[in-house]
Amino acid sequence: MNAYSADEMMTVAAARALEGHRTCFVGIGLPSLAANLARATTTPDIVLVYESGTIGSKPPHPPLSIGDGVLADTADAVVSSAEMFNYWLQPGRIDVGFLSAAQLDRHANINTTVIGDYRRPKVRLPGAGGAPEIAASCGATIIVVRHSRRVFVDRLDFLTSVGHGDGPGSRELLGLRGAGPTMVITDLGVLEPDPATMALVLTRVHPGVEPERVREATGWPLEVSDRIATTPEPTAAELAALRRLAS
């Protein structure tokens, strides 16, 4: 057994979730690390498309910023921001997109705009960036975020990016083409939408985590799947690759 942190477990779980996908739209931060971990382990051929306009980037280390030169230098193609959003993201060409959240509700809708009132916010967050259209247009999205009641809230202060809206049929009604969030991966476990309600259900816990602890870290009465599973621990190879990338 390997010693590893909860964040490492989260990143490894996110990387594993890319298996079987061909193309991944990458924003900054932990998603970039997970996407590059997938490339270094289970899914070497995955095409990474960065919001900054690089297609097929193969960075030796995940960069601090999604606009780092290494992404352009190692890309198959570099395109303008206009082309990236209009020709590549919007038509639904990209299989899967990673997103994070400052607040997340039970239908996996995301707030990254403000905490508090929009006109007089308690905390002004960075805002939308590419997230609304990633959430709308990718074949599926995977949300990666640390679990806490501050994040997993009963009601968003602002809806920046649509997950499953008000529940079943919402995405179709809004004309959103991708399947939306298929998985929320946290440092405690994995949540997936119940097909009947499109509300998030705890389907997996990471090793050593009790479902009750996840419920306590969630701001609404979180349902736990009857068939809840435990995430396999990170393998030695996964941890070694992750630490090489993160160093």
């Binding site: 910023s65 606009g67 206009a82 919007q90 939308a128 609304p132």
Partner: protein, 269 residues
Amino acid sequence: MAVTATLEEAVRAGVRDGDSIAMEGFTHLIPHAAAHEVIRQGRRELTLIRMTPDLIYDQLIGAGCAAKLVFSWGGNPGVGSLHRLRDAVEHDWPAPLSIEEHSHAGMVNRYVAGASGLPFAVLRGYAGTDLAKVTDSIAPVVCPFTGERLTAVSALNPDVTVIHAQRADREGNVQLWGILGAQKEAVLAAQRAIVTVEEIVDELDPRPGAILLPHWVIDWVCEVPGGAAPSYAAGYTDRDNDFYRDWDAVSRDRERFGEWITANVKERS
């Protein structure tokens, strides 16, 4: 028609109080030197337009140059918040800052419309979000063929756009490569354009991945080596990641920020 000028001359001629100004560059080629000149010249009441406000607008906002911000993602990439931006929005310091907020896709299409001489652009976007509720430059539009409901965003046509590029020739043709961002659209959408470059050369030999902005769509070209720092210019300079990390602490504190601006902007040129 491009003329060669010093940065001081170009900013004096091209940037006026109350202007709407776009300084573009997606992490790469951010025109920091030009922004510092705007601060030195004490411009006020600017409408700052930029997809990713970044440190460059954190500085302009903190220095009191801005009345309004038009943007889509306002953070310190990979580090955290823009504390001067937050202080202005959360506490009106040093002055109230009004906000016009979009997604990246919306912002870039606003530049595209501006560059194309159209009053609006169409995209799949904003459906179901609260952004359309708080931003007037977002509106529904219906496809005349399918009846499908889509989203329109109004064009951006800044009074002046400022960019940094790798090179220009003596006629003022500008060449840039690497991550391209929205620079071409921002220049073509603007009434006036100022370009700072790493160097002015006799001839622009072709470069893979490079785009060229012809001299007749640019007003001023200024040779400012390192003009993108702490951002970078591919092929010339590297990104100063430490500066970005350190900025978090500098910018958290009003006094420390003021000292930094005095020492690094106002007392330099």
